[in-house]
């Protein structure tokens, strides 16, 4: 059975598993396979999902995106040192050395077109979906952490301890590396990433999500008309997340 068909098969098995109450305990693990399979089929290379962050609208002290991400993806603080806890999205406070100008912005996986994490991953667990979302396949990640060494944005976290109370739609697990998935489970249902939704709800609307490839999309229009930048553009990774006002 090829990898692909195996996943399909497991995916189908996963759904059956979900239905059967006897297999309920297995569900989260199996379900995540079904997600990987179903959505890998669904992802289209015509689309490139991306995000635009308007730093002029983002406020220091506002943490709505971070909280929403934690709720959606069931990310709790670990029991170890804070330095060992996962952070898929974080707020960075910036102060320009020359001018003293202060900025606040969310930082997460930048979903590069040329992701260094994918290049270095020995097993291919780090991969880029056809629609540009960079993900970790939790089934073949061996936890070598080479991708964390390679990521220029410090976007990845390593799961340092066993996890409980997880969202069955969001596979996570001890010993694997993880990072922002752009809420792939929501995107595939036609929703926005949790952080973007929270930011809008909060009245700031500093985050805009959409298809960079679709000239009619709001994000594409904004990028075409306003000056935006990519973080560490010098590395030529062409991130899918862009910033305005830096």
């Amino acid at each position: 059975m090829s990898d692909h068909t195996r996943r399909k098969f497991l995916g189908a098995a996963g759904l059956t598993g979900l239905a059967g109450s006897g297999l309920a305990a297995l569900a989260p693990g199996v379900h995540l396979i079904s997600l990987a399979a179903a959505h890998a089929n669904g992802a289209s290379s015509k689309v490139r999902w991306g995000m635009l962050v308007d730093t002029t609208r983002c406020a220091s002290g506002c943490n709505a995106c971070v909280t929403a991400c934690a709720t959606e993806n069931a990310i709790q603080p670990g029991t170890g040192r804070p330095a060992q806890s996962s952070q898929w999205i974080r707020k960075i406070e910036l102060n320009e050395f020359k001018t003293g100008r202060a900025l606040s912005l969310p930082m997460m996986c930048q979903h590069c077109e040329q992701p260094p994490c994918v290049d270095v991953c020995p097993t291919g667990a780090s991969f880029k979906r056809a629609d540009g979302i960079v993900l970790v396949d939790r089934h073949i990640c061996i936890g070598c952490r080479y991708c964390m060494m390679a990521c220029p944005y410090k976007a990845r976290s390593f799961v340092h301890e066993p996890l409980t109370e997880q969202n069955p739609e969001v596979p996570r697990g001890k010993g694997c590396v993880e990072s922002c998935t752009l809420c792939v489970q929501r995107i595939d249902k036609g929703q926005q990433p949790a952080c973007v939704e929270a930011c809008t709800k909060n009245g700031r609307s500093a985050m805009l999500f959409g298809d960079l490839n679709d000239p009619a999309s709001e994000i594409a229009k904004r990028i075409a008309t306003t000056p935006t930048s990519q973080v560490r553009a010098d590395l030529r990774l062409n991130p899918g997340v862009r910033y305005q006002g830096i």
Partner: protein
């Protein structure tokens, strides 16, 4: 030179005592591993800033040293220095043992060490790590065959060819190991093309030092006196390697200093890094470089002094790996050049690292694996020549 007769060493009380001590360290290493496996890396000093810790320091040291331990064999078979020929099997054995120890630690430090089979079946050919999986397994095969050809009389005629293959392979392998860092485009500490060649030169020094230590210990334990001539020559070789290493380290940092963008990280490693700077200057430069050079080059060398130098080189080697791996990660990534950054994820902060006991035990377990392989092989295989004195090793007149 008369035909060398190889003979297994005899096991006496001391042999089993040593076996026991190494076995104990192996058990402690296993304990460390199972603790980490059970609880996760939460019980280590590693975190999301310091993703590679002490196990990597020790593992990479062993792997780099493994390639260097092959020096003596290479000098014999590739460069035709007959004096080293009787020592070539021990050199190949040590190389295999160190590689096994290093790889074991590297594998057991994986977040999912239970998925080793995946590492062996899923490959992303763009990854240096995946490439290294091939280089490491190839190393075992080629050096293993080389050792076999040397030990098996009927295969002797192939041993030079195998020696050549092993020589080329291990240079590639060390380049691959050095390149692991070269691909980390955003980490300022590793922005140098010199890393891979520097690793090769360092491997010469580490491997030869470990070889001399192993040789001297084995000869003493097996009561087979070691000729002064061969020690003298190895000593000169070692001094050259240490000097070359120091030169490379100097050039590495000086070229980094040439680029203004690297000033921050260089200033950190060399001056402001606290423990890291201390380990660099005291561990890597003084203990690992200046001291052994002094001991090796000062007139009137004794075997004891050479061995102290070797031990110092090993300590210096571990220090070098610490500075490279830990120091390189301690320096924060600069996402926004020109800005001061702060966050809950420690952006813009120097990261600290304190290894926990379990990861130290795991690392030491790697040394134990290497030692056990050598000790057991010496007993069950005919690796060590019966006679190692000058008369036996030096070319006889008329040869």
């Amino acid at each position: 030179m008369a035909t060398t007769i190889f003979r297994a060493i005899e096991a006496k009380g001391g042999y089993y005592a040593l076996l026991g001590v190494c076995g104990l360290f192996l058990l402690l290493g296993a304990f460390g591993y199972f603790q980490m496996e059970h609880h996760g890396h939460v019980i280590t000093g590693m975190d999301n800033q310091m993703v590679w810790g002490m196990p990597h320091v020790i593992a990479l040291f062993l792997i780099v040293a493994a390639s260097g331990a092959l020096n003596v064999a290479s000098t014999a078979s590739v460069f035709g220095k007959t004096i080293y020929k009787p020592l070539a099997p021990l050199s190949a054995l040590l190389a295999l043992a160190l590689m096994a120890g290093g790889l074991a630690v590297l594998m057991l430090d994986l977040g999912r060490s239970d998925r080793m089979i995946i590492a062996a079946t899923h490959f992303n050919f763009k990854s240096v790590f995946a490439l290294n999986v091939f280089l490491y397994t190839g190393f075992f095969t080629i050096v293993g065959m080389y050792l076999w050809f040397m030990l098996e009389r009927r295969m002797n005629r192939w041993s030079s060819a195998a020696g050549m293959a092993a020589f080329i392979w291990r240079l590639t392998l060390t380049t691959g190991t050095g390149s692991v860092f070269g691909f980390l485009i955003a980490r300022e500490a590793y922005q140098s093309a010199l890393l891979a060649p520097m690793f090769i030169v360092l491997s010469f020094a580490y491997g030869t030092a470990l070889f001399l230590l192993t040789l001297a210990a084995t000869c003493a334990a097996a009561r087979r006196p070691l000729g002064g001539m061969v020690v003298q020559r190895l000593k000169n070789l070692l001094a050259t390697f240490v000097a070359a290493s120091l030169y490379f380290v100097a050039v590495f940092h000086l070229t980094n200093l040439y680029f203004t963008r690297n000033h921050g990280v260089e200033q950190f490693i060399l001056v402001d890094g606290g423990i890291i700077s201390g380990v660099f200057w005291i561990g890597q430069v003084v203990i690992g470089g200046a001291l052994p050079l002094l001991l090796l080059l000062a007139p009137g060398t004794t075997l004891g002094r050479i061995l102290v130098a070797c031990a110092a080189i090993v300590v210096g080697g571990l220090a070098q790996m610490y500075v490279t791996i830990i120091g390189g990660q301690a320096w924060p990534l600069d996402l926004f050049p020109g800005y001061a950054a702060s966050s809950s994820f420690f952006d813009g902060e120097i990261h600290n690292y304190a290894p926990s006991l379990v990861e130290m035990l795991l690392g030491l377990g790697g040394f134990a694996i290497a030692a056990l392989i050598v000790i057991i092989a010496l007993k069950v295989l005919r690796v060590l020549p019966e006679k190692l004195d000058d008369a036996a090793l030096l070319p006889q007149p008329g040869e």
